[in-house]
């Protein structure tokens, strides 16, 4: 009897320690910004450090951005975070880690002197840390797009990547749809056209269901352009992220207010 009681006590103590360790290692999604004179320093501890950077800078400076993850296929570009001893589904996340960068800002307003340069600094910093995939910045209208240019294949070789939202949509595919339906249709068509599943990660504003989408042109447009038109038509200052989940092999499209 006495021996059994001691064993239970020891087990309980170990459980508490493990729980504390797990909490201590969780990193915040948003990064932090600090200003000294005309220099800003950005730091994030999030494993998904590049989208965390884009998200934080978008919200801080009210930037309209669209970020698309590179596909994660190479085993060396993933981290298995399944709890020890668990069988069945393996929980995978993209490999990543801390990221920091410095950029020039207006000493009074703390706004970057150049948004494009700042975002390019982020891409350069990401590359310098050796994290998976490479990305490029394109600027269109008032939007800044960060899209993948290469990623490692399943075999581990660097492969050129065509961004998902380069897929073209025809105006008739989005005809007579409200803004929310047009966005969901656009994600669905891109998914079908590229062989991927894309889910909407956040509920859209209620009024999107009352405004009808009208494409800017009778010609086909990339999904990225169509989404930009939908966002602009909504009148809301919204940016978005397209994040890949290696556990279930799908993309999550998350719009957010800036």
């Amino acid at each position: 009897m006495n021996i059994r009681a001691s064993s239970r006590l020891l087990f309980a103590t170990c459980t508490i320690i493990l729980t504390l360790v797990a909490h201590a290692t969780e990193a915040s999604w948003e990064g932090s910004l600090e200003y000294v004179g005309s220099t800003a320093t950005f730091t994030t501890q999030a494993t998904r450090c590049l989208p965390s950077t884009i998200y934080t800078l978008s919200r801080a400076f009210h930037l309209r951005t669209g970020y698309e993850d590179a596909p994660v296929e190479f085993a060396g570009d993933m981290i298995d975070v399944t709890a020890p001893g668990r069988k069945g589904l393996r929980i995978l996340i993209p490999r990543g880690g801390p990221l920091s960068l410095r950029f020039e800002v207006d000493a009074v307003t703390h706004k970057p002197l150049s948004f494009a340069s700042t975002l390019n600094e982020a891409l350069t910093a990401y590359r310098s840390f050796g994290y998976p995939g490479s990305y490029r910045l394109t600027v269109k209208d008032a939007w800044f797009y960060i899209v993948p240019s290469s990623a490692r294949s399943r075999a581990g070789t660097d492969t050129q990547v065509t961004p998902l939202f380069d897929a073209e949509l025809r105006p008739e595919e989005l005809r007579h749809l409200t803004l929310d339906d047009a966005l969901e249709k656009a994600l669905s068509v891109v998914g079908a056209r590229t062989g991927n599943k894309i889910v909407l990660g956040r509920r859209l504003p209620n009024q999107w269901g009352t405004v009808y989408f009208s494409p800017n042109s009778a010609a086909s447009a990339t999904a990225r352009d169509v989404i930009e038109q939908i966002m602009d038509a909504s009148g809301s200052p919204i940016s978005w992220l397209l994040l890949y989940d290696p556990t279930f092999h799908y993309y999550v499209f998350t719009p957010y207010l800036v």
């Binding site: 020890p84 589904l89 703390h110 706004k111 969901e184 990660g201 956040r202 509920r203 009024q207």
Partner: protein, 369 residues
């Protein structure tokens, strides 16, 4: 605010109480316009350039617009249209605008006596509308009528005169003011505010201010195609109180209040933490009802966390909590902001979902797939 062709950074200084100023930086592109909603600024708790926030208790005061540096000598061009609208009394009045600028430019001392072969520092200044006298020595263009008698430096030490030879002459300082000198502002005395007494405006007749609302569960989202048959979301219908048919055609708009929390998120998740409400707007019916307002995760995210968190060794239940600030607007334009943000919460457990709005909680068994 509407500036000139070129873009311009401005500093908006709100003097809302004696000794209390909130300084909000604003950048305007060329020909761009911007409207500042002080209520929103206060509600969002946006820190100013000094890290201070505009308190919700601020109800009146004055606005001083300067260049981004805050230095009055940083010249700006603006076309300002201002008015006073009191959302509590639904009354309007005119704003009172004064352009504070240089009215009397001079050099000191005047006259000056400079020793032969000696240096002497001259200064330029300007008396402003508000009585201040900023120094312009370093930004003036200095000159002498007879450089054989006195020379004056422009660089590196502006206004430094040197006695070259005995005699009398005049030294001058000038600086460029884009508008004009002395008459930059309205002629003195400063214009008195006219028509500022609160007067009901015919364009803002109000439908009455609701004192609050009641919330009732309406249906789960899997009955509603508008939310993609989302089984993890609970829809609520609200009724403004006291009920009034005059509310019909008005709107209720949500905005984000206190920071949201998301205990389901873990580092590496493909779903970023919930970043607050998305700014929905609902029409109010003639029965004073509005909605449905759906509370809860999108189904895919619910299924993800219900499946992944246990495998990841993380606990369930987990919750997301949002704070929804609501603004009711009459069909004719009068507005009423709810005093207290509405708390929205959604909890994922291993067996289902629990959603709460304003304390009204509903739960169902649900296994995500």
């Amino acid at each position: 605010l509407e500036p000139e062709r070129k873009s311009k950074s401005l500093l908006l200084n709100f003097h809302y109480a004696p000794g209390k100023t909130y300084s909000l930086p604003v950048h305007l592109d060329g020909h761009a316009q911007s409207m500042i909603d002080l209520k929103q600024v206060a509600m969002q708790g946006t820190p100013d350039v000094h890290g201070q926030m505009l308190p919700m208790t601020a109800t009146s005061g004055a606005l001083v617009i300067t260049g981004a540096s805050g230095d009055v000598r940083d010249t700006i061009n603006l076309a300002i249209s201002s008015g006073i609208y009191n959302p509590v009394t639904a009354t309007c009045g005119y704003g009172c605008e004064t352009c504070n600028g240089c009215t009397n430019f001079g050099v000191s001392p005047d006259p000056a006596y400079i020793g032969f072969g000696q240096n002497y520092q001259l200064n330029s200044y300007c008396v402003w509308e508000d009585g201040t006298e900023p120094d312009y020595t370093g930004s003036s263009d200095w000159g002498s009528n007879d450089t054989s008698i006195v020379t004056v430096q422009n660089s590196p030490q502006w206004g430094l005169a040197y006695g070259e030879s005995p005699g009398d002459t005049s030294c001058s300082a000038s600086f460029y003011a884009p508008a004009n000198m002395g008459q930059i502002c309205a002629p003195l005395p400063l214009p008195q505010c006219q028509n500022t007494s609160a007067q009901p405006s015919s364009s803002t007749s109000v439908c009455g201010s609701p004192s609050g609302e009641t919330t009732a569960f309406y249906q789960w989202g899997d009955n509603d195609p508008r939310v993609n048959y989302d089984a993890a979301a609970a829809g609520y219908i609200q009724t403004l109180s006291p009920t009034s048919s005059a509310y019909g055609g008005g709107t209720v708009t949500e905005s984000d209040a206190s920071p949201s929390t998301d205990s389901c998120y873990f580092d590496g998740s493909a779903y970023p933490p919930t970043g607050g409400v998305m700014g929905s707007t609902w029409q109010v019916g003639s029965d004073s009802r509005w909605g449905p307002d759906y509370v809860g995760w999108v189904y895919a995210e619910f299924a993800y966390y219900q499946t992944v968190r246990p495998q990841r060794g993380l606990s369930l239940p987990c919750s997301g909590t949002l704070f929804q600030k609501l603004t009711f607007k009459c069909p004719q334009g009068g507005t009423y902001v709810y005093d207290t943000p509405v708390v929205l919460q959604s909890t994922i457990s291993s067996s289902g979902i629990t959603d709460t709005r304003e304390g009204q909680t509903v739960a169902r068994q649900l296994i995500g797939q």
